[in-house]
């Protein structure tokens, strides 16, 4: 194994130097493998590194091995890449290539850049993605025969992986890892990965290409120059970030441009998937890892062939990527460190290693699958449980995710060449969940085993986390992770070169685990790691199955950093996704398909829409225990999140300057000791968002604000509330009111000018109260959302309050009144007096709260007391408090503004009091005409015929009213109706109001309200 490793390393080095794409892959692989190796083989760091390298080599070799043609391709690719690199992008990289680390980086970069170029030579469609795909397909086909065995093997492990996915939300992570790893995997795949990369890069290039390259380069170069371990880690992280960006781009691209972008994406995803599987397999035996890559490749091919499928995988991969990132970051650091060195040391002999690998793979594949499986299965239970909880879970999840996406592809691939794969695929396809689960267990076990041996998990972490890795890496590097990784490295070497290769692949898969592993490593470094990891794994799986939501307390601490970073990514991703989703998803079926596919893969029934909406909560939860999210079912949920994350990551990547990194690290540290992942994540998110764009910021702020509910101290100061303020763009004057259940969408919010028009429209409208109320509410909402507080705001509330008073809608009036009170207190001009009169009347007539009345009165200014309306209100108060009905109804007749309307609501009570009083005091009778006059049924002083006419009506009304209240009426000799006071005094009663409703508020009786509202002249 050591030899193999060395060979592999050598090969990797060679590859790195010679083939940019390969080198890139190697890096990834190496990183992953390193971390894994470190954890796995603590004893010999150097060896571990070697093993890592070997892993990387293995992958490459596997690629080669898998496809002799492929290997050719690889070589060619590498050469071409190198050339291209040299020619174009990365003269530096080439030069640096002398330095293994630097060279690797450069190669990677160059590889990316070169890939497209190289692809041309390959005859893929050089620039054309489709061409790539085709080439990929072709290549895979070629390779297929060879790899078949490996594929099968890989397929088996994959299935387990998938099962893992089922258990949790691993799917997402897997895809991540796949994408991340994809570079590494690609290498193994040979032309495939590179092509996939190129596709990605190309697509990305559109968006973030420059950024990517620059970032990678800067980071890589610096990192590599300093020290491979450290340097690589950052570099990887950078790469990852870039990848993330790419992913994000992919998303966007896919969303926007279905065919090309999606294809590319799908390819990339497939490649990623492939990579992941390898990683998984790597965890198992090297052979597995190799086969896995092959499978992936095949899948990729399939995917490439079928755009839709490819798209789906891509989506899945994205989701998985997110998780990967999170998970991976910590581990990445570790991995990178250890592996890098070995890789460097072992340049030369790529071919040999390849051959060996291939041979091994081939040999291992046939045998491996079964044996590995068995082993893996056997191992699985214990391993899974013991290995780092987070890492194994993550890996599993990742794997499962990867598998899931790949399943369709695999199936196709299988159909193409491999029975085993077919089976796997078929199972996956048919009963994806169950099959996956069962298989996944085995796979996971295998992985675990390998991991346990070689710290597969750590390796995986690095990849996924790359973007985040920076932070995570910083921590990991400093800590025991490195040491652990070294120790693991030794172990890894011991276990097997083949395993090492597997590890490398696993690493890709594993990246998700990295943090746990790192932590576990740090904790477990002493060899106890496997056990602890196993136990942890066991726990974690169960948790996963139980629920996504469950935060894993144990895992949390470990994952804090990673989770935090992950969360950030997710957040950003979410934000992006949301925005994009709105635009793209709604429109594009392809997305939905993808989502569905993803979901299917995940076997999670959660609907995309749900996942979209819920993301925040989930994120939080996941944030708590990053791994929890993995557990989850999170995968389905996290799909969108992941996609969002990818977007975010893009933004983040942009902001990934060294300083920014430092800042983040500091922040993350600050959070580490504190409460935990959530806060950290939140802050991260916030800051990241800040660096990113408005949307991001807003989203982060929203998230933060939401997270506040969870309790605990948040970094409130990190919220830029101003950034959250929406600036409306909607030009529609009319808008229905809809209570917001999410962040406001600027496109549906009207700016102030439009709101002004809307207000005028409502004021001039002839429609009924219900309509106006609805419109005013929507205006109020838009004002609130945009934080507009000025005279317009006061005007709107005043308008609404008046309208509510006119229609006797006291609840609505009270809402407006309380707002107006605040607005007036802020010094905003309005009809302050009018409304303080209303307020007084309201308190006097409708609340019977003496203390409130007192405080209201004591707060009235002298000026207010001189106001006509206020004076009137005070007079009403006096009349009511003394029971002076004469005064009351006089005031009722002379009320200014809408005071009458408020008094209206009290008239019934006042009349009843008055009649009770009269029937008690008057003897023997009172003329009803007098009663009608003093109680406001008729005019105070009839002066003309018209008035008399009205008075006769009023008299009738009064008679009716008196009868309805149980008064006894008599007609005297003159034919005048009299109220028999004595008789009435004992028979008066207050009838049940006709519009009474069981809940006491007539305004809540919809039908009645509608009838009334519509009958209003408005």
């Amino acid at each position: 194994m050591m030899m193999m490793n060395q060979n592999q390393q050598g090969s990797t080095q060679n590859i790195a130097s010679s083939v940019d794409p390969n080198s890139v892959e190697n890096r990834y692989v190496v990183d992953a493998s390193q971390s894994q190796a470190s954890s796995y083989f603590p004893s010999t760091t150097g060896s571990g590194a070697v093993s890592w390298v070997t892993h990387g080599v293995n992958n490459q070799s596997t690629e080669n091995g898998n496809l002799s043609n492929a290997s050719y391709h690889h070589e060619q690719h590498t050469e071409s890449h190198v050339k291209s690199l040299q020619d174009g992008l990365n003269a530096t990289s080439l030069t640096s290539s002398s330095n293994l680390g630097t060279t690797n980086v450069a190669q990677d970069y160059s590889g990316y850049t070169s890939y497209p170029n190289s692809s041309d030579p390959y005859a893929y469609g050089s620039t054309a993605y489709p061409g790539y795909y085709s080439s990929y397909q072709q290549q895979p086909n070629h390779s297929y025969p060879q790899p078949v065995g490996a594929y099968q093997n890989s397929g088996a492990p994959y299935q387990p992986i998938s099962s893992f996915q089922n258990s949790g939300s691993y799917v997402g992570p897997a895809s991540y890892s796949a994408t991340y790893y994809s570079p590494g995997d690609y290498q193994t795949a040979g032309g495939y990965p590179s092509s996939g990369y190129s596709h990605q890069t190309t697509s990305w290039n559109e968006g973030n290409y420059t950024n990517y390259t620059s970032h990678q380069y800067s980071n890589y170069t610096s990192d590599t120059s300093g020290a491979y371990s450290s340097g690589t880690a950052p570099a990887t992280s950078l790469q990852y970030q870039q990848q993330y960006k790419q992913w994000a781009d992919y998303y966007s691209q896919t969303e926007v441009s279905c065919a090309p972008g999606t294809e590319n994406l799908s390819v990339a995803s497939t490649s990623n998937q492939v990579l992941q599987p390898p990683g998984v397999t790597a965890g198992y035996p090297t052979a597995h890892s190799q086969p896995a890559p092959i499978y992936h490749q095949s899948w990729q091919q399939d995917s490439s062939s079928s755009h839709v499928s490819s798209l789906q995988p891509a989506a899945t991969s994205n989701g998985s990527h997110d998780s990967y990132w999170k998970h991976g970051t910590p581990s990445f650091q570790n991995r990178q460190v250890s592996p890098v060195q070995p890789h460097y040391s072992k340049p030369l002999e790529q071919k040999t290693s390849y051959n060996n690998f291939q041979d091994q793979h081939k040999a291992a594949c046939p045998q491996g699958p079964s044996s590995q499986y068995a082993i893996g299965q056997q191992m699985a239970p214990s391993y899974q449980s013991p290995p780092v909880q987070t890492s194994p879970q993550l890996d599993n999840r990742r794997v499962s995710k990867l598998q899931i996406p790949t399943n369709p592809r695999i199936a196709s691939n299988l159909a193409l060449g491999l029975p085993k794969t077919d089976k796997d695929s078929s199972t996956a396809n048919a009963a994806a969940k169950p099959a996956y689960i069962g298989v996944s267990l085995a796979k996971s076990n295998e992985k675990v085993v390998s991991h346990a041996d070689s710290r597969v998990e750590p390796g995986t972490f690095p990849k996924s986390l790359c973007g985040y890795v920076e932070r995570a890496l910083a921590r990991c590097k400093g800590d025991a992770e490195i040491a652990a990784s070294q120790a693991v490295m030794g172990e890894i070497i011991k276990k097997a070169n083949s395993d090492g290769t597997l590890f490398s692949r696993d690493w890709d898969v594993e990246p998700l685990f990295p943090k746990p592993t790192t932590e576990a490593v740090t904790k477990d470094l002493p060899t106890s790691t496997p056990l602890s990891a196993l136990s942890k794994n066991k726990r974690s799986p169960s948790r996963r199955t139980k629920s996504r939501w469950e935060p894993l307390p144990e895992e949390k601490p470990i994952d804090k950093l990673a989770s935090s970073t992950n969360e950030i990514v997710k957040f950003s991703g979410w934000i992006h996704a949301n925005e994009k989703d709105r635009k793209h998803i709604s429109g594009s079926v392809s997305k939905e398909d993808r989502l569905n596919n993803i979901k299917f893969h995940l076997s999670e029934q959660k609907s995309a829409s749900k996942s979209f909406q819920r993301p925040v909560k989930r994120q939080r939860l996941s944030a708590d225990g990053f791994k929890t999210e993995d557990n989850g079912d999170a995968s389905s949920d996290s799909d969108k999140e992941q996609s969002l994350t990818s977007y975010y990551s893009g933004a983040i990547a942009l902001a990934n300057s060294p300083e920014e990194r430092m800042r983040r690290e500091n922040r993350s540290k600050r959070f580490d000791r504190g409460q935990g992942n959530r806060s950290e994540t939140n802050r991260f998110k916030g800051k990241n968002a800040g660096t990113g764009n408005l949307y991001v910021r807003r989203a982060s702020a929203l998230l933060i604000s939401k997270s506040f509910d969870d309790g605990g101290s948040r970094a409130v100061e990190d919220i830029d509330w101003d950034a959250l303020t929406v600036k409306g763009t909607c030009q529609e004057i009319e808008k229905r009111y809809l209570r917001l259940t999410s962040a406001p969408d600027p496109s549906t919010v009207r700016p102030e000018e439009v709101l002004e028009k809307a207000l005028q429209m409502v004021q001039n409208s002839q429609k009924n109260y219900l309509y106006k109320c609805d419109q005013l509410k929507s205006i109020r909402q838009d004002l609130t959302v945009q934080r507009i507080r000025n005279q317009l705001t006061a005007k709107v509330y005043e308008t609404h309050a008046r309208l509510a008073i006119e229609n006797g809608d006291l609840p609505e009036y009270n809402q407006c009144q309380s707002q107006l009170k605040i607005l007036y207190a802020e010094g905003i001009e309005g009809c302050c007096m009018e409304f303080s009169a209303y307020h007084l009347l309201c308190v006097i007539l409708h609340s019977n709260n003496k203390r409130e009345l007192l405080s209201l009165m004591s707060r009235l200014s002298d000026k207010a007391k001189q106001d006509k309306a206020v004076k009137h209100a005070l007079a009403v108060r006096a009349a009511v408090s003394s029971g002076n009905y004469i005064m009351f109804f006089r005031l009722y007749k002379t009320a200014p503004n809408l005071n009458t309307c408020l008094m209206d609501l009290y008239v019934e009570k006042m009349r009843f009091k008055a009649v009770s009083c009269m029937s008690r005091s008057y003897r023997p009778t009172v003329p009803v005409s007098y009663v009608a006059q003093v109680l406001g049924f008729t005019g105070v002083s009839p002066t003309n015929e018209e008035c008399e006419e009205r008075d006769s009506d009023g008299l009738e009304e009064c008679v009716e009213w008196l009868k309805a209240h149980g008064a006894s009426l008599v007609t005297d000799a003159n034919g005048e109706v009299q109220l028999d006071a004595k008789a009435s005094s004992s028979t008066l009663f207050m009838p049940e109001p006709e519009d009474a409703v069981s809940h006491g508020d007539a305004n809540l009786a919809v039908n009645d309200f509608l009838a009334r509202a519509s009958s209003q002249p408005s």
Binding site: K850, R851, L853, L854, S855, M857, S858, A878, S881, S882, G883, N884, Y885, I886, M887, S916, C917, M918, R920, S921, Y922, R923, P924, T925, V926, P927, Y930, V934
Partner: protein
């Protein structure tokens, strides 16, 4: 402040800490009280504050000593609070004091006996006063004053520690009174309800066993609450209890009680002597009493107008306003007496015109309808016995006791 040497500062601090730990260990509540009473502005505390400014490392001093460290949770924030207090930074002083008080409560909870009750009183008092001053500071800085509210919730917690437990329960009423003060100041008197319920429904502990001063305070505040509710008999009973049990030497307290008791007594028809109003400087009521005696509606209205702000703030305005009906009654009675002097046989028939004239003479511009309404209300409220004949516009008074006295009963509402 003169320069204080480091050694001197150190000596004073350790002296304080020694006294604190001694007081706790010997359960000497008297000296403990002195150590906590900021608002006493005692020279020893002030010099301690200066010492703390000179000797910055008091915290280490506390934590290093086995004698002091058990009370570090109390003394460390207490020192900080004292320093802020000394420099006039009352908001921070409050915050630190609350922290210290919190730690003290924890300790207090663990002490089985209630020996430290007096110290707890001091803390409750200090925290309220500090909060009030901190709020003033906040308000002057344009910030929202919220510390008193915080103090309220803190004291509610302390109340929870005391209520229900045997020997400590006796302190519950003090806390209740402090809470009343806060709630009345904040205008959130509805919060009093829960505290009152806890005091009045817990029959385990007889109300009479509480300290007298707490009982008086409690009755004063609950009496005021009854005034708000216009529940005059209950208000009369509670405020009278407070008045009777109040220390006759503390005239300010008596005045506060009378401020509410007098309107209550007026509304149940009991008028105070002039000397009482003068003695306790409650002359704002004198015109009102005068108006009631004379049936002078104009005087009543003027008096109400004159002291409107004051009455509104103290919350008796609405109570006094309701005296108007009694003034009408008095006026009618006077008319009745005059009529009786002229023609006893027709005295019980009072023409509406006469009443209107009388009111005109009082410069009350009321037309016949309004007066008729007033008459109807008076009859309805049983301030006048009789009936009103609408056709002839005559009030027909009962021949027996046409103007019944209230005799301690409120006007029918």
């Amino acid at each position: 402040m003169a320069y204080m040497s480091m050694g001197e500062a150190h000596r004073r601090i350790t002296d304080y800490l020694n006294r604190f730990s001694d007081a706790v260990s010997s359960q000497d509540v008297v000296s403990l009280k002195q150590l906590l009473s900021f608002s006493s502005n005692s020279p020893s505390l002030l010099s301690l504050a200066d010492s703390l400014n000179v000797f910055q490392d008091a915290n280490r001093l506390i934590k290093q000593s086995d004698n002091y460290s058990p009370f570090a949770d109390i003394t460390v924030p207490l020192f900080r609070s004292l320093q802020h207090y000394r420099t006039g930074n009352l908001v921070d002083a409050y915050l630190a004091f609350e922290k210290s008080a919190n730690a003290f409560i924890q300790e207090f909870r663990n002490w089985e006996s209630a020996w430290a009750l007096e110290a707890l009183y001091v803390i409750a008092y200090e925290i309220r006063v500090l909060a009030e001053r901190a709020d003033r500071e906040l308000a002057s800085n344009g910030k929202s004053p919220e510390k008193l509210k915080a103090a309220g919730s803190f004291l509610m917690k302390v109340f929870g520690v005391l209520a229900g437990k045997g020997s400590k329960r006796v302190g519950a009423l003090y806390l209740t009174c402090q809470l009343f003060k806060i709630y009345f100041k904040l205008g959130t008197v509805h919060l009093c309800r829960s505290v009152i319920r806890s005091i009045e429904t817990a029959r385990i502990f007889d109300f009479e066993e509480f300290p007298k001063r707490d009982k008086v305070t409690y009755m004063y505040y609950t009496g005021r609450l009854e005034v708000f509710n216009e529940n005059f008999p209950a208000a009369d009973q509670k405020l009278s209890y407070a008045l009777i049990n109040c220390n006759p030497q503390s005239e300010a307290n008596i005045r506060m009680i009378l401020k509410y008791l007098i309107p209550v007594k007026l509304s149940i028809g009991i008028l105070p002597k002039d000397w009482l109003l003068e003695k306790y400087n409650l002359v704002e009521y004198s015109n009102i009493v005068q108006a009631l005696r004379r049936g002078d509606l104009r005087l009543l209205r003027h008096a109400l107008e004159e002291h409107e702000d004051q009455f509104l703030r103290s919350g008796v305005y609405l109570v006094l306003e309701k005296l108007e009906l009694q003034v009408y009654q008095r006026l009618f009675k006077k008319i009745y007496i005059i009529q009786k002097q002229k023609d006893p046989s027709k005295a019980h028939q009072m023409k509406l015109d006469v009443i209107v004239k009388a009111l005109k003479w009082l410069e009350m511009d009321m037309d016949v309808d309004e007066v008729e309404c007033i008459v109807a209300i008076l009859i309805h409220k049983n301030l006048v016995k009789g009936y009103f004949a609408h056709k002839s516009k005559v009030v027909v008074l009962s021949k027996q006791d046409p103007f019944p006295k209230l005799n301690g009963k409120p006007v029918n509402s």
